[in-house]
């Protein structure tokens, strides 16, 4: 897990993986999916982007976040991811899709994928393996 990027605490992971928290788990997965889609477009590859209209994807995420309102640690963790996305977007406005931006976006996308894997109770994907896919 990236020490400086978005991540869940051990308590959040344990809570998400309890069967009685399925609804919360689904809300978190929805938010993380939209967030990943937003970050993915800055990695240098659009292949995994499912909502090409960025502002539409952002509006979907903001609506999904309403469902998490008041679920403090989870909402805060998703908002930390949203802040990371906004930093990447702002950097891109300054310097274009530079190698620094795409590297940061890939690291953030990996952090979000790790969060998604915990939220879906499927930890264990080899997310730390070298990315075999060249930027495109």
């Amino acid at each position: 897990m990236n020490a400086t990027g978005p991540c869940f605490s051990a308590w959040e992971i344990a809570s998400l993986q309890q069967p009685r928290n399925r609804e919360l788990q689904d809300q978190v997965v929805r938010c993380l999916s939209f967030l990943s889609d937003l970050v993915q477009r800055y990695t240098g590859s659009m292949f995994l982007v499912m909502i090409p209209e960025e502002d539409l994807a952002l509006s979907y995420l903001e609506r999904a976040l309403v469902g998490l309102a008041g679920r403090k640690p989870f909402e805060a963790s998703i908002r930390a991811g949203l802040d990371a996305y906004r930093r990447i977007r702002a950097l891109t406005e300054e310097q274009g899709l530079s190698p620094h931006v795409t590297e940061l976006a890939r690291a953030t996308a990996d952090d979000l994928l790790e969060m998604w894997s915990y939220a879906t109770s499927q930890p264990g994907f080899r997310l730390d393996e070298c990315d075999r896919r060249a930027a495109g």
Partner: protein, 188 residues
């Protein structure tokens, strides 16, 4: 410009499009299906096909590329839910399926699209497509607008039933059968 464009997707994407999204298919298409570096790797359907085939054949349930695709398919489900083309209960079931169903449903299939049938207004160019890569996004392909290639996974009875022998217009019972099967074959 070549006449045919190609896209590689996991069988699960085809199944979602066919049974749950009204037979409307979403996918990135490239001008070649070729091992040489004709496009960046992430936009080369041959490379994508190979990555999926390797994960499926091992079978490697913990492959990172498959995890990325699971997440992307969850985005597609959530987007349909936002557009009210899926209700919340079905969307939740489909998100769970995308996250948990076996890598057996990530067997790759290849779309071959005749460009003459897709007007430029339906071709969305973005990302590396704006930077010289010969690719575009088609988000509204009908099933009469593409051929399915390399879909020869006859050893898997569910693949045969739900993909190769699929009815053009899914019935309620076939949709239920797909859901039950996908929910029953999960990551080992």
């Amino acid at each position: 410009m070549p006449r045919y464009y190609y896209g590689a997707v996991p069988a699960l994407a085809w199944i979602l499009n066919h049974y749950f999204y009204g037979g409307v298919h979403y996918g990135w298409l490239a001008a070649e299906f070729h091992p040489l570096r004709t496009n960046p790797s992430s936009s080369n359907p041959y490379v994508i096909y190979g990555q999926l085939y390797a994960a499926w054949s091992w079978p490697d349930e913990r492959d990172k590329f498959v995890a990325q695709l699971r997440n992307a398919l969850c985005v597609g489900v959530a987007a349909h839910e936002e557009r009210r083309t899926l209700d919340a209960v079905l969307a939740r079931r489909l998100r769970s399926i995308c996250s948990n169903t076996s890598v057996a449903f990530f067997y790759p299939v290849v779309y071959r699209v005749d460009l003459e049938r897709i007007p430029p207004s339906r071709r969305i160019v973005a990302g590396s497509g704006e930077d010289g890569s010969n690719e575009f996004l088609a988000r509204d392909l009908c099933e009469t607008e593409f051929e399915l290639l390399l879909a020869d996974n006859r050893g898997d009875a569910d693949f045969v039933r739900f993909v190769l022998d699929a009815d053009a217009h899914p019935t309620r019972s076939s949709v239920d059968a797909v859901l039950t099967t996908l929910e029953g074959r999960v990551i080992a």
